[in-house]
């Protein structure tokens, strides 16, 4: 247990030392939020009502889909994996440590955004804060699950750049955070429902929990768990 906890703490420190992680977990989401927050609130007087939710969905999606997989691809597709393995460090710790560290980082980013939005843009605070933050954590876990799948299955950082964008761009464009989802054609609305960002925005903006809209989170987490367990088993077997 001590080794596992040390690994999580170490991953947390390593993330802070990585410019790429800092950019995708904190700097770009927060700069984007300040920039887009200004635009949204000036073109739509009602934007302040959902500003926290929309910008949080953007930031979490960016960190989980672009940030998390990069360090996993670097870990599992290099000699680091061999060095850890011969050193007696279980391979699953790479994925789990990154996941937990990412969860903490993205939660912190979301909290920073939550407070700045109120101060700078006079954004509305969700009516039920307990429900909001529980939903937020579930959304972060779901998004990180997708990020971990990408990190374990894509074999190079160059391929990952493309694959991540294939998930990130539609997540942002079709989730309703940039413009209302009902302005989109039906088939695009359907495509949007594949991505956690759509359900994240829907659930974070809702006033109460609805089992049907929480179900995609659970399903995604379950699928990710199964896929990642299978993949880690494959990575552990000898070449």
């Amino acid at each position: 247990m001590s080794a596992f906890l040390y690994g999580i703490g170490l991953q947390w420190k390593l993330d802070f030392r990585s410019k790429g992680i800092l950019l995708t977990y904190y700097i770009i989401p927060l700069i984007f939020f300040l920039f887009m927050g200004g635009i949204f609130t000036s073109i739509d007087p009602n934007a302040y009502k959902t500003l926290i939710q929309s910008m949080t969905v953007f930031g979490v999606t960016m960190g989980a889909i672009i940030g998390t997989p990069t360090s996993l691809v670097e870990f599992y597709n290099s000699d680091i994996r061999k060095a850890y393995r011969v050193g007696g460090v279980p391979l699953w710790t790479g994925a789990v440590n990154n996941f937990i560290s990412g969860l903490i980082h993205l939660s912190i980013m979301s909290i920073i955004l939550f407070f700045i939005a109120q101060i700078v843009f006079d954004a509305s605070v969700p009516s039920n804060l307990f429900r909001y933050f529980v939903t937020l954590e579930l959304f972060i876990i779901t998004s990180l699950s997708v990020g971990v799948i990408l990190g374990l299955f894509v074999k190079s950082t160059s391929k990952l750049t493309m694959v991540s964008q294939l998930v990130f761009l539609p997540s942002v464009m079709l989730s309703g955070i940039m413009f209302p989802i009902d302005m989109l054609p039906n088939f695009m609305q359907m495509i949007g429902k594949v991505f956690p960002a759509t359900w994240g925005y829907l659930n974070l903006s809702a006033n109460q929990w609805e089992m049907m809209s929480m179900f995609p989170f659970m399903l995604t987490i379950l699928i990710a768990l199964l896929l990642c367990t299978w993949r880690l088993g494959r990575l552990h077997t000898t070449e």
Binding site: S2, A3, Y6, G7, L10, K13, L14, R17, S18, E74, F75, S78, D79, I80, K82, A83, R85, V86, G87, G88, V89, P90, T237, T238, E239
Partner: protein, 287 residues
Amino acid sequence: MTTIINIDSLTKQYGDKMVLNGISFAIQRGEIFALIGTNGAGKTTTIECMEGLRKYNGTIETHGKIGVQLQTASLPPNIKVIEAIKLITKWHSTTIDMALVQRLNVDLILNKKYKELSTGQKRRLHLVMAMIGDPDILFLDEPTAGLDVEGRVALHAEIKELKKRGKTVVMSSHDMAEVEELCDRLAILKNGDIGFIGTVYELTKKNQDKYRVHIKLANPLEMVDLVSCSYIGEQQGYQIFETNKLEDGLYELTTLLREQNNSMQDLKIEHTSLEQSFMHIAKGVKV
């Protein structure tokens, strides 16, 4: 002596290419054993099969805890040396052996990040990591590649110390002087087979009655058929001959020089070395 590693009919294939053709050998507890061979002979594959990093056909039995220093290994670029050592130490449920860290001169780089280390410093760190948990068998894949003289000396001293403590070391190397200095036995891999297995003495003994005569001449030599020695080639301005009858060979050579009005500027005589014996077996060439 008891067998600590037993390999029987080890076969390994990458795609269509057969890398190991059913090799068998045993390594005894407490010995320093070297696997040598030319590039692509199968040394790293054999070692990685023993370490459990590769699938294989055949049987490998290891009796004891193993420590591994890989030929190519890496760590996250921003991890500090002390953090890497602590991580491995914690997974082995042990404490950091600072004496070991000092012996391998890793104490001076504890707060450096992995990306800031030189090749030699990285190898020393991976060696410390391999030795965490006090393994019975230590696999070292080209341990001195990239090490400076100081690092090499420290490593050799550490390997000798391990032997004194009854540990088994299995290493691959291209450095014949290192093999000669450290190893009790060696195996030469040649195209996936074992070309030779035994002690350094047994290997060189095969050619021990042979001498290499290096002659630096005033004028080019006009070559004729020789009876008691054979011409090997030229190296750094010296003509090299091999003979197993030194007196007869020298007499024949000096006679030849006199006949050709040539003269000797320098002369060196040496026994056939381990390197030459190795090349003879591994490549089938005289060096």
